[in-house]
Symmetry: C2
Subunit: 247 residues, 2 copies
DNA sequence: GTAGAAGTTGACGTAACGTCAAAGTCAACC
DNA sequence: GGTTGACTTTGACGTTACGTCAACTTCTAC
């Protein structure tokens, strides 16, 4: 089966402009281009488009999507990962609805806000999805990491949560704490919860993530910019946490 | 309690740049501006920000958000509407996850796609949320419709489904069909299903919507641009449909 | 042949900020 | 009081992902 641009656009509810754009940037080349210059798509392209649209719904930029959606991967495994992400996003909207419920209660009770209660009003809005989802994909397929210069921006786009965690780790290092010190482990717990917002690592995968942090050249380079002790310290701290707290 | 820009930004996870932007466009003016030029926010602004962020999460543009988020409305009623929208969006992500599940089954079974099955791959991606949510808000608070020039773009952003319905109505008028003609009623049925994708009108609210279409100056103006007979014809057709098909 | 739908390329415009620079303000510390 | 660093402002250019439009070609049905 083959589909024209308009047919694909109609089925998928994206515009032909979008399809052209995706072809231009190499994200979704058509199956073939006719002698008349017309684009034609087949099943493989439709599958890929679905994946693109899922990731777009999850808020990823096209750069990140290009990195995740690739030929040659086990498609069923990719789809299962997307499925899990969609369920996580579904749960986040549930959390947002609960946040609004709480606000309704506050407003109907004419509650005066304190500093503490104000923070509850914004629970669920954090969506550092792109970084997390890319991270998970990289952990899984790290060996095929894209090396385009644009990807070096990944570190720079990390959210505030991560920055705070790094700051704490550096403070621990400066206080000469060891990786298994309870304070250090609390920081790792914070990191774990941050990750857990979107996917829940088990022991193996959390340690695998620590290894990515320490071994991936770009992660490593960015850590070294902050403090040369960081990478190995984080690896040790995460490994300790995973071995004592996770299964 | 008063909060500075940075405090609000931290709590809400938006940037100070965003808060400035929202002030500049009048979407979220601060509670007051100090002698030093600094912005300060209070509870009322935080409540409004939460509403803005909810609607942003739901994919609305800032124009549409400005139209929905207003002073003087029953805040509990506004929040309950947002709550319902969030649950609907949660359910849509559930549908998306089910779509991906189906794809996994197809891929693992090495199913060859037919024209029909290809359409299933894209279920759940339709999100004409902005139009529908604005419409619902207008139906509820139509009498306080904003008259800023920018809002006149609303009509232009209507989706294809709406355009097709209008085209059909004009065709019915040209064929001298009455509002209760079965063919006309089938068009209204199509409109009803289009609305029903996001909220289900009962008799009263569907007729109320028809009244909004005919009585709101901007709706009316846009209808008149297409055909001066349209507004009243649509009102009559919807009223007929609602009285015979809805309770 | 004609008309209208469908499709292309090319190119400017848009929305919602992100980023950066320059400068002022504030608070803590010496 | 001076210094430093965090905080805040205004101003302005840049970015992303298309939307919109124009001009032209191709296809299909009559």
């Amino acid at each position: 089966m083959t589909w024209s641009t308009a047919q694909v656009a109609r089925m998928s509810k994206v515009t032909s402009r979008t399809l052209r754009h995706y072809d231009e940037i190499g994200l979704l080349p058509p199956s073939r281009v006719g002698a008349n210059g017309y684009r034609f798509y087949e099943q493989e392209q439709l599958l890929r488009l679905q994946q693109i649209l899922v990731l777009r719904e999850l808020g990823l930029g096209l750069d990140a999507i290009a990195e995740i959606v690739r030929d040659g991967r086990d498609q069923a495994a990719v789809l299962r990962m997307h499925h899990r992400w969609l369920l996580a996003e579904r749960d986040r909207f549930d959390r947002l609805a609960k946040t609004v419920s709480r606000t309704i209660t506050d407003v109907e009770g004419n509650r005066i806000m304190t500093k503490k209660s104000a923070e509850h009003w914004f629970e669920g809005f954090d969506q550092p999805t792109q970084q997390h989802l890319q991270q998970e994909a990289r952990e899984r397929w790290g060996e095929s990491v894209d090396t385009t210069p644009k990807s070096t921006d990944w570190w720079r786009t990390q959210g505030q949560g991560w920055v705070a965690i790094v700051d704490e780790l550096i403070a621990h290092l400066d206080a000469d704490r060891r990786a298994d010190d309870p304070a250090v482990q609390r920081t790792v717990e914070g990191h774990y919860q941050w990750i857990k917002g979107h996917w829940t690592p088990n022991r193996e995968s959390y340690i695998g993530l620590a290894d990515v942090y320490a071994d991936d050249p770009r992660f490593r380079a960015n850590f070294d910019k902050s403090d040369p002790r960081l990478a190995e310290f984080l690896r040790a701290a995460i490994t300790e946490y995973a071995n004592t707290k996770l299964s």
